[in-house]
Symmetry: C2
Subunit: 169 residues, 2 copies
DNA sequence: GCGCATATATGCGCAGCGCACATATATTTG
DNA sequence: CAAATATATGTGCGCTGCGCATATATGCGC
């Protein structure tokens, strides 16, 4: 049955995200969309509050307060944007370091679940996951949303259609 | 690279959980571990607060307040347990209906991502996911935790070692 | 300049959760 | 059997994460 496989993927995804979120909380001491925000801000220089908001799927105020937390944790700083209405978000050195640690923690959390497969099985699984992602009908923003925790040092060929999922534009 | 595949699984898992959580919030108007709690309570009659706490990975008080919410939403009722210290949690008719809707929403959310694969590909993916889960080194409680959103009408042969993952015991 | 859209910030409140503590019932031990 | 201990639940309090409504500042078209 197809639903049985959907159920299995749901269970695996839950296990994966549990581990990712736990690791993220250990690294930066924050939960919710805060770790994703740190990663997204690092994709490009000068991410704005508004773009971040759309990628994370939060409200305006929620995003402002999230950035407040990142600023007070000295991981991010607000600089004036080219457009004087905008705030350009930049990682501090501490923020860049935390971001790297965050992504490493995420990869290692997933890998620890995955390393029970043989290399051949892993490769087959990778191909299938790539196919699933490649064939999704995603808007530009959807792609950034799905990729909001992705490790851009590792994801050199993002399968999502028509974008690399790497730039904060 | 192995880490590349880990990254892809992380991205897919995030997409899957985003959709599951959004659907759950639409069905019962609550987030966090509340939907999982409703599903877990439905696995068996007389789930206790303490067992629930361990499965969901929450604190005592967090669990009590979570159950308070379910009770005030008239989805769950507290009955005296066999052991007079325990509270036996039971779904109300409304709770059982919400639970079914919750699980259906979850399956359909995952299936909508998965239906881009051919039947043969889907089957291969199912086999690989089953292998990943089957080979995990999980404690008894880990299994309930991983299965805390599983649809017991669909998951007739849970791959997790040494248990069916179906009973609330 | 004026009206409107865009981007950010703030006041306020709620959901979800943990810590510390209190209470009630079982279980073990002397 | 009584006392100490373990187990299960409930409560006061506060924090994090977030949304709604509103206010302010800047850009853009006319």
């Amino acid at each position: 049955m197809d639903t049985e496989i959907a159920n299995l993927l749901g269970a695996l995804s839950l296990a994966v995200m549990d581990r990712i979120e736990q690791g993220a909380r250990e690294v930066i001491g924050r939960g919710g969309e805060t770790p994703a925000a740190l990663i997204v801000i690092g994709y490009g220089e000068g991410m704005t509050n508004e773009k971040l908001r759309r990628i994370l799927g939060l409200s305006h105020s929620g995003t402002v307060r999230l950035v407040d937390r990142l600023v007070s944790d000295q991981l991010v700083e607000r600089r004036p944007g080219d457009d004087a209405r905008e705030v350009a978000l930049h990682l501090t050195p501490r923020g860049a370091a935390a971001r790297k640690e965050l992504m490493a923690s995420r990869i290692s959390a997933v890998a620890s679940l995955l390393n029970v497969l043989s290399p051949a099985e892993t490769k087959r699984l990778g191909t299938l996951i790539r196919d699933v992602l490649m064939r999704q009908d995603t808007s530009e923003m959807d792609r950034f949303t799905i990729c909001r925790m992705c490790d851009d040092r590792v994801c050199t060929r993002c399968p999502l259609p028509t974008a690399k999922g790497k730039r904060g534009r």
